[in-house]
Amino acid sequence: MTLNVNVKQLGLFAGVLLALPLTSVAYELSGYSAVEGQYFLHDSPFSEPENTVLSAVFAPEFYTQWDEGNQSLLISPYFRLDSEDSERTHLDLHEFIWQKSTDDWELKVGVGKVFWGVTESQHLVDIINQTDLVENSDTEDKLGQPMINLSLFNEWGTVELFILPYFRERTFPGKDGRLRSQFVVDTDHAQYESSAEQGHLDAAVRWSHSLGDWDIGLSHFYGTSREPIFEFNPVNFKLTPYYEIIHQTGLDIQMTTESWLWKLEMIRRHSDSDTFTALTGGFEYTFYDVAESGIDVGLIAEYLFDDRDNALLTPFENDLMIGSRLAWNDEQSTELLFGIIQDLDTDDRMWSVEASRRLGYRWKASLEARIFSVDRDNSALYSIRDDDYIQLEFARYF
């Protein structure tokens, strides 16, 4: 089991706790616990992983506010216990953040989560939080990030400044985990370009604004890349992750009209080893209340581009995502998102279905299925070619 909470973080939390007021305040406890079953349709090409994986999640959230709601503290730990993969069994502190808000600015100190971006198929611009890859291969789950974040609200847009004093390593499935690489990632011996290693002071700035139909964001990040490159270690037959120092500029734009959302995300990343551009662009068109049924049907198409030559670094060099989002708008909030990402240069294809429905008042069932159709052995997806799966989760909210 990996304990991702370290001493520096704890020091930060202690500081936050001392700042808590002694006057009476309202506390609120919420969150969920869940059980999840995954069934993999094929045997793994590697000897260790099983086809059936069971796991349980506990994710409470503690919240309190004072100073007429202008200050708050949010604590949300996250724990998953996995029947197979000891790397997937993990505890993380998603949030432990104090916040002070005024009309003109907002300050956050602690461990937090931030999302930037607009597209659906991948999230290029979103860089503050590290990806928790053992949670889900879709890279949408994130680890808590220690930060000092000052946001300034102006007539001409919002400016967010981030100081990120501690780096979180990406999680990777272990030898018993599905969706792993051929040689597992040696997460205990990560290498860094910076001699400060995880203590490198990363920083980011973002400007965002809404102008009529347009929502625009422009950001720059300097610091430790959230995405490692790998070096094969012939001694232990593992991949050593190497985290470079990067500069990354990101742009995200959405234009919203009555039924159309037009979206673009673009990044340019510079490091010692590479300089590249990547983008995701496309649209979502929604037919609302189809035939007065209350059901909304959205059509999504996005083009994914990455000019890195090495196909092993990204599966999305020249790909098209086509999908559909269905929302029943019923009492149970039934939803379904379906998508295919097709590589335009090869026959590689990824199918994905995500659906959810509330059961009763406190339960929610979520279904997820992915199929990887991989045709070439130099693909970034080659090691997961036999990892097609169906996953069912039941969560109880409190």
């Binding site: 907002e106 919002t158 809404s210 919203t256 959302l261 929604t286 909030s333 509330r358 008042y361």
Partner: protein, 262 residues
């Protein structure tokens, strides 16, 4: 929108003097709507809590707990934030709406699990709000230019002597051909609304009750019962803890504020 409203006001004010004997049903309908609107001007900002009970044909119930904050805008539609407390799986989900009379509303949705603020398309007027019998257009702010009006008759409803007027949506993508509204003569409060679907059949009835007056002027119904005649389902909104002039400003109705709502 101020100019349009001013024009409508002038029409409403001058008409009785010049054309007292020739007032058409359209003019009378508009005058009633304008009077009702004027009586509800100047509340500035408000907060309230709402319990929404969905009931299906078999009588099975399910509940949503919601908080709302609204800001009255001079010459434009109101701004509003809606926050969900229950069911728990959508706790913290919040909507920000800048409503407008005839141009499309601007709307953002905050998804707390992803920490993601999404700008959402505004075409959705007729779709159900949270699985209820209330459509998005039923809960958006009332603005005079959104409808054309016609006075139909006088009738007693909920024990109140009322005007019955017909309102025809002038905005795009409405699910209704027309709405009949019962507005009481004493205080110009909406007592009842009948909604007619795109085929002009009676679809829903909304009954307003438990009115209370705030700041010696503003009447708020504490109960709204929407019954769908075609499906047999109904939704009851129970409002509580109304507060007015709480000091909210436009700065409390920005995209950034969505993330702060608890």
């Amino acid at each position: 929108m101020r100019n349009i409203t001013t024009l409508l006001l002038l029409t409403a004010l001058t008409t009785p003097f010049n054309l007292a004997w020739a007032e058409t049903a359209e003019e009378k309908g508009l005058a009633i709507a304008v009077e009702a609107d004027n009586r509800d001007k100047g509340w500035q900002d408000s907060r309230a809590e709402m319990r929404m009970t969905l009931r299906n044909k078999q009588g099975k119930e399910s509940v949503r707990v919601i908080r709302v904050a609204n800001l009255e805008m001079d010459g434009d539609g109101d701004k509003g934030i809606t926050i969900f407390d229950e069911p728990r799986d959508i706790k913290g989900t919040a909507f920000l709406t800048f409503s407008h009379s005839l141009v499309p509303d601007e709307q953002w949705l905050y998804l707390p699990a992803l920490k993601r603020v999404k700008r959402i398309a505004s075409k959705n007027k007729s779709g159900p709000f949270m699985g209820s019998e209330f459509a998005f257009e039923d809960i958006s702010s009332f603005e005079i230019p959104k409808y054309s009006y016609r006075y139909l008759k006088d009738e007693v409803v909920n024990g109140e002597e009322s005007f019955v007027i017909e309102a025809i949506p002038q905005y795009k993508h409405s699910g209704y051909t027309r709405i009949e509204m019962w507005i009481d003569k004493a205080e110009y409060r909406t007592q009842k609304m009948d909604f007619y679907d795109r085929k002009n059949s009676l679809l829903k009835t909304n009954i307003f009750s438990d009115y209370q007056q705030y700041l010696d002027q503003y009447w708020r119904a504490h109960k709204m019962t929407m019954e769908n005649h075609q499906t047999g389902k109904s939704t009851v909104l129970d409002w509580s803890n109304f507060e007015f002039r709480t000091g909210l400003t436009e700065k409390d109705f920005e995209k950034n504020d969505l993330k702060r709502q608890r």
